[in-house]
């Protein structure tokens, strides 16, 4: 059990505190409450003030089909339904998806520094987006433009290359994969740098993509990305048992009856799919996929059955909250907020888990 062990048992000894067994329930409730608050705040707040009663009325009328006669301007309805709601839901889905993918990558690679971008998805997506900017044909303004399409393809392509290349050589599969991921990412980063150099005034567009954000969210885009992210995340959650087995090491997992090779490939594919869809719709937003799973593990331990759903809840609330903060502060890059919230919070938790922390 060397590596499958977050030792929080010491803290359970503190009298009167939550027992370890109850923590998942408590954290789940806290997570749900957080998400609910974040969603409500995300829909209620914005640069235009709309009375909470009107917001509720609009939601009730349009989403629940209640027969409420409008006491609000038509513009308010457009703002809530067509501008805020898809944006908040996109942030929720992307945050949850990145957290689940991050947890899966950390477990698969048994590396606490792994995040959803570790195997080249980020550099692949960025390179794809940069190429799209260089192509002198204006992307059709459909729900998914050229930039998002190529970002998605780039992200998946990079992981596929890493996976194929890492299957040769003597190193253990995971080390090999990390090293290959590093090499491929570096190469793609060089390509990105070159593309940025060549892009001239297009630099602004590439840079905006690298910073990430949700201002371009729409129902159509959500409808394309959400099914991919949700299905992939659910697929990962259903494989929690395999992920638990792999935390013990490949041999132990094989002894537990896990088809290691196959499960690893499937989990990698699902996590990469969720990540690719997320980065295609929102650009590169760091920290949520790295921090959310760790925070959950620090509280409830390493069991993937608990970590995956709780990390999804936490990632979703964190992202919705970060996007709201970003909007209220004048559309600053949401990645700045996730790092500013995420890093200190993470450090505090890490310090409190005095007894040491391993995956």
């Amino acid at each position: 059990m060397s590596s499958g062990n977050v030792v929080i048992a010491a803290r359970a000894g503190h009298a009167g505190r939550l027992s370890v067994a109850r923590r998942p329930v408590a954290l789940g409730l806290v997570g749900l409450a957080l998400l609910a608050v974040a969603l409500v705040a995300g829909i209620a707040a914005g640069t235009v003030a709309i009375a909470p009663a009107d917001t509720l009325g609009i939601l009730g009328r349009r989403l629940l089909g209640l027969d409420i006669s409008p006491t609000w301007a038509a513009a308010a309805e457009t703002i809530v339904i067509d501008l805020r709601l898809p944006r908040v839901l996109t942030a929720m889905i992307v945050g949850g998806g990145l957290a689940v993918a991050g947890a899966a990558f950390q477990g698969l690679l048994r590396n606490p520094l792994a995040d959803p971008y570790v195997l080249g998805t980020a550099s692949g997506a960025a390179f794809g987006a940069a190429i799209a900017v260089l192509i002198p044909v204006r992307a059709l303004i459909v729900e998914f433009g050229l930039l998002h399409g190529l970002a998605f393809v780039g992200a998946l392509g990079a992981v596929l290359v890493v996976y194929k290349l890492s299957r040769v050589g003597a190193a253990s599969p995971m080390t090999s994969m990390l090293l290959t991921g590093y090499a491929v990412s570096s190469l793609l980063a060089a390509g990105l740098a070159m593309a940025m150099y060549l892009s001239g005034a297009g630099l602004r567009q590439i840079f905006a993509y690298l910073l990430g954000g949700f201002e371009a969210s729409s129902w159509g885009r959500l409808a394309v990305a959400a099914p991919l992210i949700v299905v992939a995340s659910l697929g990962i959650a259903l494989r929690a048992r395999s992920l638990n087995g792999m935390l013990l090491g490949e041999e132990a997992a094989a002894h537990l009856g896990v088809d290691v090779r196959r499960e690893r490939a499937v989990l990698l594919a699902l996590a990469s799919l969720a990540t690719a869809a997320a980065v295609a719709v929102s650009g590169l937003i760091g920290f949520v996929g790295l921090v959310a799973p760790h925070v959950v593990r620090l509280v409830v331990g390493p069991n993937a059955r608990l970590v995956l759903p709780l990390a999804a809840l936490l990632g979703a609330s964190l992202m919705v909250g970060a996007d709201l903060a970003a909007r209220l502060l004048g559309d600053i890059p949401v990645g700045v907020i996730t790092a500013v919230i995420g890093a200190p919070f993470f450090l505090v938790l890490l310090r409190r888990a005095r007894t040491g922390y391993e995956l």
Binding site: A75, L113, D115, P136, R138, A189, A201, F207
Partner: protein, 341 residues
């Protein structure tokens, strides 16, 4: 067991800021014309005249009747159901144009403008800054026409245009990379706002005046001119196929031009040896003394002769609005002041 290295994917490099800051600064300072276009030039209801150094004089156009469908400078067909009463301008040039066409009272929000013109627009809410577009507020203002800036990359972020159109607000995208297209853009705004006769008169007067100024400078000596956009790290100047270059030629200059990267190396610049250096978009923070003090610049003829001239009104040189003529005058004032006397 954790590997000791950190195989994180590369994100934005801090060095990027060094490249980006000057670029963004000059993009922010210019009108939409500072961005590199690929979209076809503005096909208005009448075909756009071919690009020449001397602008063509447009013919009068009748007032349009609503509803109407117009084709904007990106080739998008925009339906305008009725004469717009709540107009939002997302470029400083469009703000100027709307006020010049007499529909300023119908403008409900504007873009941030470093030149703060016209003064009547001072109190309008700002919904477009370089950081982004406040789509929510535009919707809340119940805008029935939005004038945006195009190009590639787009002056107005595509995401914002898409979202506005998505909620049913007509968005007309303007983009000019030469004088004729700038005038066509003004006429397109006239068409969209039901002020075609005014726009026709305004652009005809502008074209006549610019043609006269161009004719006056055409016979004079065209000195080799370097128009400096920024030189804090890399050196940026005007692309050959741009509103900048056309304005400089019309003002009686032989501009040193570059490709669409806007970049020129110091070696190329020294080899081209300009007789005059015009401080354009960096005129607010650069002086002739700064230029002379730059390593390697001392041997350039313009520096040796003290012919480094700031253009205080540099904003007007590429702002595709009604004051484009003033931009031309500012350039001529620096190069051939006798023409204006």
């Amino acid at each position: 067991m954790a590997a000791s290295f950190r195989p994180r994917a590369r994100r934005a490099d801090p060095l990027l800021g060094l490249i980006l800051v000057p670029l963004l600064a000059f993009l922010a300072a210019c009108g939409p014309s500072a961005v590199v276009p690929t979209a076809p030039p503005g096909a208005t209801s009448s075909a756009a005249p071919p690009a020449t150094a001397t602008p063509a004089i447009p013919t009068a156009t009748p007032a349009p009747t609503f509803p109407l469908a117009i084709t904007d400078d990106e080739g998008t067909t925009v339906a305008i159901p009725a004469a717009p009463q709540r107009i939002v301008s997302l470029t400083p040039a469009a703000t100027e144009t709307l006020f010049a066409l007499g529909v300023g009272s119908r403008v409900v929000a504007k873009a941030e403008d470093i030149a703060a013109y016209p003064p009547e627009a001072d109190d309008l809410p700002v919904v477009a800054t370089f950081q982004g577009i406040d789509v929510e507020q535009i919707v809340d203002l119940e805008a029935d026409l939005v004038i945006a800036g195009g190009g590639n990359p787009s002056f107005t972020p595509l995401a914002a245009i898409e979202r506005l159109r998505g909620v049913g607000i007509p968005v007309v995208v303007l983009y000019a990379r030469n004088i004729d297209q700038a005038l066509a853009g003004i006429r397109l705004v006239g068409l969209a706002t039901g002020t075609s006769p005014d726009a026709g008169r305004l652009t005809a007067a502008m074209a006549t005046e610019m043609a006269a100024l161009g004719a006056a400078t055409a016979v004079l000596e065209h000195a080799k001119v370097f128009y400096e956009i920024d030189a804090t790290s890399k050196i940026y100047t005007v692309p050959a196929d741009s509103l900048y270059a056309e304005m400089l030629i019309l003002a009686g200059a032989d501009p040193i031009t570059t490709d669409d990267s806007y970049e020129i190396s110091l070696e190329e610049l020294v080899a081209a040896d300009p007789a005059v250096i015009l401080l354009g978009d960096d005129a607010d923070y650069t002086t002739a003394a700064d230029v002379a003090a730059r390593p390697g610049w001392g041997d350039i003829t313009a520096v040796k002769n003290g012919a480094v001239i700031p253009i205080a009104d540099y904003v007007l040189v590429t702002r595709p609005g009604p004051r484009l003529v003033e931009g031309l005058r500012a350039l001529i004032e620096a190069l051939h002041p006798e023409v204006l006397r």
